[in-house]
């Protein structure tokens, strides 16, 4: 069955942890847009959701840092963060283990990946899940991307992963969705925190929506660091989804810079 749902959305901890810190106008632009995405996800009646998010030193360290890691377990505990920080209760999110293993096997024909039966979910997965499937019953296939410690997977490899994932998903009988979870420009946990390069975000999203491979993958690591901050490396998750939805029209549900959440509140749904 062809890919049944595809989207990309931000996952900053402040979204659930400290929502009141954004202005009323920002909240009114952002949270209803996330609700519209939830309605689309529910309408897609998915059997499972493949989620692509960034490593944040939750599962991996520089002793063994995979470029791409597929979670193959029957369930994933999360969030790893304390409840007062994220305001999301600790739970176990069901894994789509059979599907995960099949996707990992198919993708391995084209892209080198690793896999784990012990992934823990941090805010990267849990913030979108809390807003989209608060009952935490939709089985997921988490994919962790090294957006953290150089050398990271090249942007072109993320594109290759997206294309390969799409072929693998389309070949399955289940109704499968795909969600990229991550920020555009941001400077987490440093004095610049709250700074947003709105123009950079806008330009990236234009290329994302048009699936412009050359433009999306043109940035050097130094350019991302300088213009989009250390958090900007998370655009890898977005690139995976742009590649997986090539040719599909995208709809920007929200583009609202929210310094209190340290990101542009960007939410995009793809018409797949």
């Amino acid at each position: 069955m062809p890919l049944a749902f595809a989207a990309a959305a931000v996952h900053a901890p402040g979204i659930t942890g400290r929502p009141q810190n954004a202005t009323e106008q920002q909240r009114n632009a952002f949270f209803p847009a996330y609700r519209r995405l939830r309605e689309r996800l529910e309408a897609a009646r998915l059997d499972a959701l493949v989620m692509v998010s960034a490593e944040h030193f939750t599962n991996f360290f520089m002793n063994n840092m995979p470029a791409f890691c597929f979670g193959l377990a029957e369930g994933f505990p999360g969030p790893s963060e304390d409840e007062p920080f994220l305001k999301i209760p600790k739970t176990t999110v069901p894994g789509a283990a059979r599907l995960a293993r099949a996707l990992a096997t198919a993708v391995s024909e084209e892209v080198d990946i690793s896999h784990s039966e012990e992934l823990v979910l941090d805010h990267g997965f849990m913030v979108p899940l809390h807003l989209l499937t608060p009952d935490m019953r939709l089985p997921i296939v988490p994919i962790v991307v090294n957006c953290l410690a150089a050398p990271r997977p090249a942007l072109k490899r993320c594109y290759a992963l997206g294309r390969s994932l799409r072929r693998a998903i389309d070949a399955r009988a289940e109704r499968v969705g795909l969600l990229a979870c991550g920020g555009l420009s941001h400077w987490p946990a440093v004095p610049e925190s709250g700074k947003i390069n709105v123009e950079w975000d806008r330009a990236f999203l234009e290329d994302f929506l048009a699936h412009r491979l050359d433009a999306l993958t043109r940035y050097t690591e130094e350019e991302i660091e300088r213009d989009a901050g250390p958090g900007g490396h998370e655009v890898r998750a977005w690139i995976v989804v742009s590649a997986a939805t090539e040719g599909a029209r995208g709809e920007m549900l929200c583009f609202e810079p929210i310094p209190a959440y340290a990101i542009t509140g960007a939410i995009v749904a793809m018409a797949v």
Binding site: F57, T58, F61, M62
Partner: protein, 92 residues
């Protein structure tokens, strides 16, 4: 530039952030935990005293530093201010 030694500093922080048993041992006897890693005296001091400004200047990743700062009792604005102070002091 991340050197061999900075790797050990970051490893200590990763272990503290992700393993409650290590945190417990660190709270009881930080010197014993730090002795298990190949640290310079300056690095050992910065970790033992939770000198986040110094650790920031060494190049420790902020996503390792911020949770450590929080557990060491630093409030978020004070953590960010400590990093900024360290940068300012380095410039002068």
């Amino acid at each position: 530039m991340i050197g061999v030694s900075l790797y050990a500093v970051q490893k200590v922080l990763f272990r503290l952030n992700n393993d409650a048993a290590v945190r417990k041992r660190f709270a009881a006897d930080r010197d014993a935990v730090l002795a298990e890693y190949a640290l310079t005296p300056e690095e050992r001091r910065a970790l033992a005293e939770a000198d986040v400004g110094r650790l920031h200047l060494m190049g420790v990743h902020p996503l390792l530093l911020a949770p450590f700062a929080g557990r060491s009792g630093l409030k978020w604005p004070d953590y960010l201010a400590a990093l900024q102070r360290a940068r300012n002091a380095q410039r002068t």
